[in-house]
């Protein structure tokens, strides 16, 4: 069977709305008729897409986010966010689920990679002066993405419910208690009658110490709230790249 026999069928044509001949028109349609590709402009600056300009760092940050979403959803199938089961579920994942260890590893290492890539992407954007007008606001969106990336990583850290997780989050959440005015160990906490039952740390953990409530809170933040916030901001980020005139070029 020839390829054209497939590409001439009504089904194929209903999905792909352009032909394959290498014409400028088809190259344009390949972008504009595809919801994912049309994040891109039809044409791009020859130098802007050079590897040694962006080092693909923003794109790879996005790719890590996608890898995290896919592996993360798969992990959710095996994991229950309560102290009675959380650790057990990770153990079972590692020892009884086919490719379970691999799945967990990939989720963990891609998370580290994402943190590093986002930091490096920020460095590249800074060094190329790409935060200057008209891209000021997109830099600010980027800073928010950086914060969310760190929070995503931090909230995920508790979920295995082992000693590393528990004590890392115990150390981390102590900081919330040190918030001026709003933390029980912070300066001026008397001001608002703050105790360990109504301070910032309590808000974060749902309790005065790391326990079942904290695990559930971190789980919901990690699997729902923060990913949604990321997606939202990534959309704004990409939209703004286009609206700000594409990847920055020398004047």
């Amino acid at each position: 069977m020839k390829l054209t026999q497939i590409t001439e069928t009504p089904v194929w044509k209903s999905i792909f709305r352009h032909k394959f001949e290498d014409t400028p028109r088809n190259r344009s349609l390949a972008v504009t008729s595809n919801v994912f590709l049309h994040l891109h402009p039809i044409k791009v600056d020859r130098d802007a897409i050079k590897f040694r300009f962006t080092f693909c760092l923003g794109g790879l940050s996005l790719f890590m986010f996608i890898v995290e979403t896919i592996t993360g959803v798969l992990l959710m199938l095996y994991y229950r966010p309560v102290p009675e089961y959380a650790y057990l579920d990770i153990k079972l994942l590692e020892h009884t689920v086919l490719f379970g260890m691999f799945l967990r590893n990939m989720h963990r290492w891609a998370a580290h990679a994402m943190v590093i890539l986002v930091m490096l992407h920020m460095l590249r954007v800074f060094l190329t002066g790409s935060y200057k007008p008209p891209r000021e606001f997109n830099w600010v969106v980027g800073v928010m993405l950086l914060v969310i990336t760190l929070l995503l990583s931090f909230t995920g850290y508790l979920l295995p419910w082992d000693q590393i997780a528990f004590w890392a989050i115990t150390v981390g959440s102590k900081m919330a208690a040190a918030t001026p005015f709003l933390g029980v160990d912070g300066p001026f906490h008397e001001f608002f009658h703050i105790t360990d039952m109504n301070d910032m740390k309590y808000l974060l953990l749902g309790d005065s110490d790391v326990g079942g409530n904290a695990l559930l809170r971190f789980y919901v933040l990690h699997c729902v709230i923060l990913p949604l916030a990321s997606v939202l901001l990534i959309f704004v980020h990409f939209w703004r790249i286009r609206k700000d005139g594409g990847i920055s070029r020398p004047l």
């Binding site: 290492w109 190329t128 790409s130 200057k132 000021e136 082992d162 150390v171 102590k174 020398p250």
Partner: protein, 239 residues
């Protein structure tokens, strides 16, 4: 933008090229390479998992995830409300302000450091400080957050720091006021043109943020070499 010459014909080397295939192919290769690296990494190295969480069995040292270990390291030199709350907030606010403070229009879309020496230096100082603190916290801190060289055995007990002193409050306040006041004032003379371009508000803001960043380094020096605990200490807060 098409580069056209007077006869309206395209020049041989066009500035703009088609996204398909030029950009999409780069993205495709980058994804495949990333996927290969991730796969090899995940097959060869297992994510750590220790014993089940036990609130009654303290890990010593208990380390934050690596990207926050730098802040944990700063806890040696500052109280938690500074190291754990104020510094992160100031870093985030400071980063977000950069585009609104940098008055220099040069160096957009190119790696041009010559025309941006000052900002590049300040930013890279902060960037490397962040990672330096992470490396120290991650690899050179053992039980009770004592300093251990990599080859030293954690089982060997280390003495707690010798007695630390605090600078008298009056003197300490003077130092702080002089540091930020004179720092801003003297640099204003040195960077006169910059000051005039930026205006007072922007200049003072940039100066204070930069001085705070360098101040973290200076406090580390004060602590290590002069055993200074606080510059100002009150019952309510200490710096």
């Amino acid at each position: 933008m098409k580069t056209e010459n007077q006869n309206n014909t395209l020049q041989p080397e066009e500035k703009e090229i088609f996204t398909v295939p030029n950009l999409v192919s780069i993205e495709f290769i980058a994804m495949i390479v990333a996927m290969i690296i991730l796969t090899i990494w995940s097959v060869s190295l297992d994510a750590p998992l220790k014993a089940i969480a036990d609130p009654n069995w303290t890990e010593n040292p208990a380390k934050a995830p690596w990207y926050f270990v730098g802040l944990q390291e700063v806890l040696v030199y500052f109280d938690p409300w500074i190291a754990g709350v104020s510094i992160p907030i100031l870093i985030i606010v400071g980063l977000a302000l950069i585009p609104y403070l940098d008055p220099n229009p040069k160096g957009v879309g190119e790696y041009n450091f010559r025309d941006r020496k000052l900002v590049i230096t300040v930013f890279l100082t902060g960037y490397f400080l962040w990672f330096l603190l992470i490396v120290i916290g991650q690899y050179f801190r053992g039980p009770n957050w004592q300093f251990y060289w990599i080859w030293e055995d954690w089982a060997v007990h280390k003495e707690a720091d010798q007695a630390l002193v605090s600078i008298p409050n009056l003197f300490g306040s003077l130092i702080l006021v002089a540091y930020f006041g004179l720092g801003t004032f003297i640099s204003k003379i040195k960077f006169k043109a910059l000051y005039e371009k930026m205006g007072t508000l922007k200049y003072v803001t940039s100066s204070v943020f930069t001085l705070m960043m360098i101040g973290i380094l200076l406090k580390i020096v004060l602590r290590i070499f002069f055993h200074v605990k606080y510059i100002i200490s009150t019952p309510y807060f200490s710096i």
